[in-house]
């Protein structure tokens, strides 16, 4: 079980801020493929990876990073703080 969080327009497209997912995905990319195959709203949210960022356990990471031992995955657009 993994906690998956969505922020900003990713959250809006998927329609929820977080969910717990049962998955055997080995990498972030595998998880994205699994979710995108599930429903259109996921496919739409993940359509353009260049405009997405991912954090694993609250650290910025990359799409080819392994999910082994990870408890929290977050997807969001590039940050616009400050």
């Amino acid at each position: 079980m993994i906690e998956v969080l969505y922020f900003a327009w990713v959250r809006e497209r998927i329609g929820l801020p977080r969910e717990r997912i049962e998955t055997r995905a080995a990498t972030v990319a595998d998880l994205i493929a699994e979710l995108s195959a599930r429903e259109d709203r996921y496919a739409m949210a993940f359509a353009d990876l260049a405009s997405l960022r991912v954090a694993l356990d609250q650290e910025l990471s990359s799409f080819d990073a392994p999910l082994a031992g990870v408890r929290e995955v977050a997807f969001f657009p590039p940050m616009t703080g400050g």
Binding site: F7, A8, W9, A55, E59, M79, T80, G81, G82
Partner: protein, 146 residues
């Protein structure tokens, strides 16, 4: 070092005074305050979303990096989230150092990294609807100078 992430407003003047007074031995104090522009009256409000937990971790890491790079006596970051209207202060950064070059460089570094590496997302609520603020290429490019 002090780091505050909050929904409510902060008092720029009181924070500046407290920060400068507490920075014993400093010769230079720099503050930066980011303010919601109303874009000539077209912006009704701004909604700032953030990632609780990661926000604090990311800002603390950026502040640690600034302290490792420059000779600082103290640093402060305050960042708000939630709904703000035009003219309201979104955030502030303050740096104190023996010399001005360190205080300026560290403040600019903190701002550049907060812009692109702290998990905040701005949504503009205008008269014609709402839209997420897009990240600017120039903000990402600004990181390359450090």
């Amino acid at each position: 070092m002090r780091l505050v992430v909050q929904a409510g407003p902060f008092d720029l003047g009181a924070e500046s005074t407290a920060f400068a007074t507490g920075a014993v031995g400093a010769g230079a104090v720099v503050t930066f305050t980011g303010i919601v522009r109303d874009n000539g009256g077209t912006l009704a409000a701004m909604e700032i979303e953030h990632y609780p937990g990661m926000t604090e971790r990311a800002i603390a890491a950026i502040m640690d990096e600034a302290q490792a790079r420059w000779h600082l006596i103290d640093a402060l970051v305050i960042h708000r989230h939630g709904r703000l209207v035009g003219g309201e202060a979104i955030m502030m950064v303050a740096t104190a150092a023996p010399h001005r070059a360190d205080a300026f460089a560290a403040a600019e570094f903190l701002m550049d990294y907060l812009k692109s590496r702290a998990p905040f997302w701005k949504k503009e609520l205008g008269r014609d609807g709402a839209s997420w603020v897009a990240a600017k290429d120039e903000d990402e490019a600004a990181l390359n100078r450090w």
